[in-house]
Amino acid sequence: MFLKFFFELRAKELNIGLSEWLTLIDALDQGLCGSNLTQFYYVSRMILVKSETDFDKFDTAFAEVFKEAQADEEVTYQMLRWLDKEELTELITKEDREIRQKQNSEDAPIDKEDVETKFKQRLKDQTEEHNGGSFWIGTTGTTAFGNSGNYVGGVRVGGASGYQSAFEVVGARKFKDFRDDRVLENRQFQMALRKLRQFSTRLEIPKTELDIDGTIDKTCQNGGYLQIEMQRPRKNAVKLLLLMDSGGTMIPYSTLVNELFQTVSKSNHFKDVKCYYFHNCIYSKLYKTPECENGDWVDTDWMFRNLGSDYKVIIVGDAAMAPEELYSLTGNYRGPNGGLSGYEWLGLLKSHYKKIIWMNPKMAPGQAPWREAETAIKKLLPMYKLTVRGLNEGMKKLMETR
């Protein structure tokens, strides 16, 4: 049974080696776990898991091995797809929220078992997508099941957590927030961006720094008489071009993108940083401000001419354009198309800049063929989710040498 636990953990992509496993066996031999499961849980976690971002994976594996399966039915892939509607949370107004809170405090306690039984029954019976209804599992409805709904204290199924009202969150675990695939914060941005370093002493600059080790060496060789050595300062040679989507569907992520921008503009270790904005997709003009006002722009061609291919490019956007915005020659409804479709512009960008990545704050995990534009762009450009892990992977991609 314990070996099963070991392999289950490794199957959950926890990088556990034999030495840690032997340490755990040692701890068991010494009786440090006592004879209770809770203590065993803590001791095995502190020995096997070395980062709070992995606690969640550990918890799932632990539950799988040591508890009976919690749910008989799995929430199907199809159902999660119906419920993947982040935009809807925008629609929920403040008053709604207040009403809900009031309900929450006034309502009689909800019978958990009753809700659970009904939920399972409905999982079995449901065959189509529902939004705003009062019986099936769906979004913005009034049943106890689904997400973004008005029912207080039901079962949340997928979707982003807007409020704390659902008393049972299917699949939610305590350390979920610590996973390193979650959306990241300012400080972590800084740490990730620091990876973009390419130190060079070959830049054509004068030798202005005192080479302390060299000086000591030379002085010692000189029999103790001081002999000074100078060297060129090491400078980061990385140039960065940041292109950010400020279209309507990006509004939920504005704080996040703003933080990324703040971090990039504050980090002084780049040789050069340039930032431009676009609306939904890149066409012949790039805007200088996030408001994307007509006239306040530069030609995309100008950028190609003036910012050489040694710039590393990060595009931030949700890649949620309508197909015609991406493929049509008149797809840009805010400005000129410049004779090419958005997709062709992206292709040009790719052929000009060798180091280019797309960071997407709401990228679907795995294949998501119903997100047509996202799938198409993913094929063209390496796309990562805007999370700690995604950004780190992206930085690695940008620093690859071939």
């Binding site: 030495s19 340490t23 001791v43 898991v49 070395k50 980062s51």
Partner: protein, 269 residues
């Protein structure tokens, strides 16, 4: 286990944390502590030392610290100077070897608690350079051909703010504990160890406001335990009535330190 770590009068540790410390001691492995700033990572080592009645050796790691600094330093410059002026004893290299914090902990006549504070500040390779020393509890001084071996294995506590990823090989050797931000219940206990006579109403109002500020999405630097303690101290000294805390936010500068964050908080009031 005969030497068992318990919460002390000044330091409130969760069950889990106490278990981690005791397991680390029993298995003779370094204990790696992570957690938000202000959750008492550094204080832990002091509490462990106090609770077990041992001395504490602190090695503060900075961005320029090298593993070698913790072992020993060979003061060549001093020797060079002394050589130029013909001082006595220049031929005795041992005079110019100065032990670092790790060396100090190894050479100690009694068992000590060794705190390696903020290990992630140093260079990426830093933890790897200490693997052998922390495993075997010994190192070799090339210049004098002497091996420094720990007389009593120190209890090693390492803290990290997660600025950098620590190398796998290093992590494999550690016991890991993540200090979660204390919930209201534990926080109350912590505050009361500092101010046993704090007025209930004031404490409740201050804590509610504190968790409220922490929950604001726009507040970049989330206030931590130490800030709450300072704040309650200030509120007590000034004799602010409890019902005014949430509405007027007196001395809010103690809790919220950044200009942007202050603006954000005022926006909500």
């Amino acid at each position: 286990m005969d030497n068992n770590f318990q919460s002390t009068a000044e330091y409130v540790a969760s069950e889990e944390l106490m278990a981690s410390v005791n397991v680390a001691i029993a298995l003779k492995k370094p204990l790696l502590i992570k957690g938000e700033p202000g959750t008492g990572k550094t204080m832990l080592a002091q509490a462990v030392a106090k609770s077990l009645g041992l001395d504490l050796v602190i090695w503060n790691v900075k961005s320029t610290t090298k593993a070698q600094d913790g072992l020993y330093m060979y003061d060549t410059i001093q020797r060079l100077y002394d050589g130029q002026f013909g001082e006595e004893g220049v031929d005795d290299i041992a005079r110019y070897i100065k032990l670092g914090k790790l060396g100090e902990a190894f050479e100690s006549e009694k068992q000590v608690v060794l705190l390696i504070d903020e290990i992630d500040k140093a260079d990426l390779e830093f933890p790897n350079d200490l693997l052998w020393e922390l495993d075997q509890m010994e190192f070799y001084i090339h210049e004098t051909k002497r091996t420094v071996k720990a007389k009593h294995r120190p209890i090693v506590i390492i803290t990290s703010n997660a600025e950098k990823e620590l190398p796998d090989a290093f992590l494999r050797r550690c016991i890991f504990h993540y200090i979660e931000f204390p919930n209201a219940e534990l926080m109350e206990e912590i505050v009361k160890t500092h101010f046993p006579n704090v007025e209930e109403n004031l404490l409740k109002n201050a804590m509610d406001t504190f968790y409220w500020i922490r929950s604001m999405r726009d507040v970049r630097k989330k206030p931590s335990t130490s800030e709450l303690i300072d704040w309650i101290n200030a509120l007590q000294i000034a004799g602010i009535p409890a019902d005014k805390i949430r509405a007027e936010l007196p001395f809010v500068g103690v809790v919220v330190k950044k200009d942007e964050d202050l603006e954000a908080v005022k926006h909500y009031v």
